[in-house]
Symmetry: C2
Amino acid sequence: MHERLADFENRCRENGLKITHQRLEIYRELLSSTDHPSVEAIFQRVRRRLPTISIDTVYRTLAMLEQAGMIHRIQTSEGLARYESDYGLHHHLFCNNCHEIVDFTWELFDAMAPPPEVESWGAARKKNIVITGICRQCSEREQK
Amino acid sequence: MHERLADFENRCRENGLKITHQRLEIYRELLSSTDHPSVEAIFQRVRRRLPTISIDTVYRTLAMLEQAGMIHRIQTSEGLARYESDYGLHHHLFCNNCHEIVDFTWELFDAMAPPPEVESWGAARKKNIVITGICRQCSEREQK
DNA sequence: ATGTATGCAAACGGTTTGCACGGTC
DNA sequence: GACCGTGCAAACCGTTTGCATACAT
């Protein structure tokens, strides 16, 4: 955690970006979140520590962090963006009912080369799986 | 094509939905499109044949067709929805530069069972791959 | 004749932007 | 002190919604 924050400061300095409380808190919040929060959720959480922060700054900081490759934006079927810190290769489980996003890994898949038509298409950078369905909590809740 | 339109009419009747010019033209447009058009693009194309159609109707019809399982909505990283007719199991290639979406198939993957942690998560309905990168046309264009 | 679908216009929600002030370097 | 980052407010864009009319059944 500490080393990731130090890493954050270094990356900012390298790119001539100022280290502000807002940026630190937003990045820290994403480091400690596991629920892929929306912009609004990040805003609400950071606001507890920095009561005067505005949501514009959250938007701007998230865009900046994404461009620097330190976080990832996930565009969900809900139509709003959600974020996660850049943390290892993984894929996503998405519950169509509660909209919760859960990570999972699939090393067998990661090691597979895509079919030849993909190579002839162009230069693939990332291959991600999204599995959608209904999570256990939601299906049990509906049973009742 | 004809049989798919007949199928469309049957499905409408089954669900008590009226068969209007607008609905027919929008569905026909998606059947003959391969480029996963946005709502705006569908609107512009259908407008040539039905000059008085409004974009609201396009939205409403697309929502209706999706709910009926006849088309699929794709939420892109651009933040806008794009659509395709329901046509066989496939995955998507997305060019980060021109935003073109191309289909590809990967039967080996489709036949694979997800890792056990997915089953313990809940009931998976769909598993989709999105490969992102730069398509050949775009990388050649940038070379110059 | 009934009731749903359409078109119009206005509202909506997430996101972006222009500007003057404030904070970092 | 110079300049980038912030907060405020307004604009923006894709999408949704309320309502009266038009159309399919």
